[in-house]
């Protein structure tokens, strides 16, 4: 069974193996495809408030996500998360499990909403999933993403409020 836990010392190499190919491909996240391992570690592990891993029964890392304030100051009640599932573990519902887990964490941490700032419009599986998990498209950034094969495509802003 897949468990989700906070990252521990020593998790980074396994996380990097999962996130590196996604960053290098550069078709879903806006990180530079030439990001270094040290830079990636900062953005994924140090900047966020917390970073989690999804692990199987043998402790293998199948996915990872971070949670952080999306804005400081007057915007600090809205969080932002980023999720990446290992290539080998696609199609097992791990993204769903991580997103549901992150929403529980967000509420527990006192956040009132979650915002995805930049969902690439060609990432249709992700958009379908976020909608199914309660997110609305609240904005469309025209041609804001330069896709490595599709050229300039829209990016979506997605949002879910936790207010009753």
């Amino acid at each position: 069974m897949t468990q989700i836990r906070l990252t521990q010392l020593g998790d980074w190499p396994a996380i990097w193996r999962i996130v590196e190919p996604v960053f290098r491909r550069g078709d879903t996240y806006t990180f530079s495809p030439s990001i270094t391992e040290a830079e990636a570690r900062v953005v994924w592990m140090e900047v966020p408030q917390a970073t989690f891993v999804a692990i199987d029964d043998d402790g293998n890392v199948l996915g990872t996500y971070y949670i952080k304030h999306n804005q400081p100051g007057g915007g600090a009640h809205v969080c932002n998360c980023g999720y990446i599932v290992s290539e080998d573990a696609q199609g097992k519902g791990i993204a769903t499990q991580m997103c549901l887990h992150s929403q529980e964490q967000a509420v527990a941490l006192g956040f009132r909403a979650m915002q995805f700032n930049f969902v690439v419009s060609t990432n249709e599986g992700a958009i379908r999933l976020w909608k199914r998990l309660g997110f609305d498209v609240v904005g469309t950034l025209p041609r804001a993403f330069r896709h490595p094969t599709h050229g300039y495509v829209d990016a979506l802003v997605m949002f879910k409020s936790f207010d009753a």
Copy 2:
């Protein structure tokens, strides 16, 4: 006549005098109202690609703006700017002048669009101005800003493409 130029060594104290009350008030920007001077200097002067000041004939700083990539990687062709006009210099068209200047700079730097990520909906003068200067509202973040007097209010995402 108001001139706009890149910041020089020694400009920071004058810039801080202008931006500090705006950050402290916390009703338009999402910086923490308790931001330190050193933190503010990083976000306004060091993180951005360039920071400018609007000065009068005597060299007094009337306003300031920064320009930076809004996203790295596949989003790096869209820039982001922030503008602040001195309390004493309101109503003289300095925000307009800075915004037009920033658009020229953006095009010169190779950006293809400009995005404002978080325009507080109660900041009606700014919204009117950005619309007049060619920006569209492309998103509405529901109750994403906690206004010090109005409580939770929407924030707008505004966008202007420079493509012909």
